[in-house]
């Protein structure tokens, strides 16, 4: 203890502070928001599935990784980057729908733990297959950004075009999801299915189709996030694992069943993660400590508010 107190001034002296360089602070906040946008999208994908099927899909990240690798093949074949993005989203969506029908549907009424094991199995399966097909030769692979590689001077900071692109796409997707769920008939039917499948069937809603659609939508959002973060993290079979952990943290922080919560959680985690990385002295807190420190913030929040920032304590009829 005493040593710690004696060491404290020395340790603190190594801490950088925002006061030293405000434009660095601005850059780190905006790039934190950009990765936060990715976490928010993946967290939204998790929340979409959790709300409709009460399943926490551990394979969410690997589904995105798989789609991203498939798109990398297209990139190698010389397909336009924007087109690749669109095909990738379509592929991820069909993969999500297919997985729901073939893998998840049969265990629908099984205990929750069985379903968790199934998604973990899916995780391992997709990871192994991707390694087998694509992870030959030098790793990690590079993945192109459709937004350009320059940076833009915003006055207070220089921000890469890619970060700005991520933020724009993230906001557009969130807006589209909002419109889908609140202003379309199919969106209303999906919300109804998530709440009360029996009553939904009585209304004439094809509940199975809504679940498939939910998984497809979720996989599309997750896949898009994967392809947007790949230019930053580079591409290898494990590249979505870190993203998935942060996204889980974001989803849990937001309450796990709240889409706005997932978005705010995602941005918060992205910024906190980035600031930790920037301002903790690297001689005693390396980049490896970014994840545990960020998760520590999550744990503290959950101790204070066990249902997350926006979650509702759900009472269930037994």
């Amino acid at each position: 203890m005493l040593t710690l107190i004696m060491l404290a001034p020395a340790l603190l002296a190594n801490w950088r502070t925002p006061w030293d360089d405000w434009s660095l602070f601005g850059e780190q906040v905006v790039s934190g928001l950009a990765t936060g946008g990715i976490y928010a999208l993946v967290a939204l994908a998790i929340v979409l599935i959790y709300r409709s099927t009460d399943v926490v899909n551990f394979a969410q990240g690997e589904m995105a990784m798989f789609a991203t690798f498939a798109m990398w093949s297209l990139v190698l074949a010389g397909v336009d980057t924007w087109l690749v993005l669109i095909i990738g989203v379509a592929l991820a969506a069909s993969m999500g729908g297919f997985i729901e029908r073939v893998v998840v549907r049969p265990v629908e009424s099984a205990p929750a733990l069985s379903v968790v094991v199934v998604t973990l199995g899916l995780f391992v399966f997709l990871n192994s297959v991707a390694t087998w097909i694509w992870a030959q030769g030098e790793l990690p692979k590079t993945f192109p950004t459709p937004f350009g590689t320059d940076s833009v001077d915003l006055g207070f900071a220089r921000i890469s075009q890619h970060s700005i692109g991520i933020l724009v796409v993230a906001f557009v997707i969130m807006g589209l999801l909002y419109l889908l769920f609140n202003h379309t008939k199919v969106g209303l039917a999906m919300r109804a299915t998530a709440q009360n499948p029996v009553a939904s069937r009585l209304m004439g809603i094809n509940v199975g189709r809504m679940l498939t659609l939910g998984w497809a939508l979720s996989a599309a959002v997750g896949g898009l996030a994967g392809m947007l973060i790949a230019p930053v993290t580079f591409l290898h079979p494990g590249f979505m694992l870190g993203v998935l952990l942060y996204a889980f943290a974001a989803a849990v922080l937001g309450g796990l069943d709240s889409p706005p919560g997932a978005i705010i959680g995602g941005f918060t985690i992205g910024v906190v993660e980035n600031l930790f990385g920037t301002y903790t002295p690297s001689d005693w807190l390396g980049a490896e400590m970014k994840l545990p420190l960020t998760l520590l913030v999550l744990v503290i929040v959950l101790v204070i508010r066990p249902t997350g920032l926006f979650g509702q304590a759900r009472t269930r009829r037994v």
Partner: protein, 234 residues
């Protein structure tokens, strides 16, 4: 209008319906009585397609409807107001009503919404509220209103009086009678309160352990010694 013949149905290994046959005439109110576990709810579930019958047939307006999925049955004009109401509690009153019209593709849904709300003025006032925030009686009204939004010819109602205060029950039954009269919706009513059900219905069936044991005019059932003793309590 509706003809149920010799249906059998089970939940897993438990046989719920042994042999149920009944008929509902167009425009009438028919009630199914019986104690808990007699098979009343199961009968309605078979008709609306939620429960698959292992034997027997259900015919609606001359067409066989058992083995069809619930969405097809709703589209044909049968609406099920289930036991315990089964509302979408975290959606608004209006959203619940719009979901009632889910299978409809016509453009009259909005005008129907206003027309249905005329029967339930309290729901019109609470259009934007969560269904879960309504009182029990209001929730039952919403469940019925939602059932009407599909423009049914036949309305299946399961225990609309469940858990409601006597005065509220009176109000609900007054609405049911009005709907039957003015909208010419045929009603198949499952009800614990036999007295009330028989006062409204034209015809009644009594179920016991998955079988129809008595079938008669409602007026005669009220005079029937065994029905009186078992279900009317005098």
């Amino acid at each position: 209008m509706l003809k149920v013949s010799g249906i059998r149905a089970s939940y897993g290994p438990v046989l719920a319906l042994h042999d149920v046959s009944l008929e509902v005439e167009e425009g009438s109110i028919v009630t199914i009585l019986g104690s808990n576990g007699a098979g009343k709810t199961s009968t309605l579930r078979v008709i609306s397609g939620l429960l698959r019958a292992s034997a027997g047939t259900v015919e609606f307006r001359g067409r066989r409807i058992n083995r069809r999925p619930p969405d097809a049955i709703v589209s044909m004009g049968i609406s099920h107001v289930p036991e315990g109401r089964e509302l979408f509690t975290e959606l608004s009153v209006q959203e619940n009503l719009m979901l009632g019209a889910y299978t409809r593709r016509d453009r009259a849904v909005k005008t129907d919404l206003d027309r249905v709300l005329e029967y339930f003025p309290i729901l019109a006032e609470r259009r934007r509220q969560f269904a879960g925030s309504l009182s029990g009686g209001e929730q039952q009204q919403l469940a019925i209103a939602r059932g009407l939004m599909s423009r049914p010819r036949l309305l299946l109602m399961d225990e609309p009086s469940l858990g409601l205060a006597p005065l509220v029950v009176q109000e609900i039954f007054r609405i049911i009678a009005t709907i039957n009269r003015e909208e010419r919706v045929t009603i198949l009513l499952v009800e614990q309160d036999a007295e009330l059900a028989l006062s409204l219905a034209k015809y009644g069936y009594v179920l016991e352990t998955g079988r129809v044991v008595i079938a008669d005019e409602a007026a005669r059932l009220r005079e029937d010694e065994s029905v009186r003793r078992s279900y009317l309590g005098y």
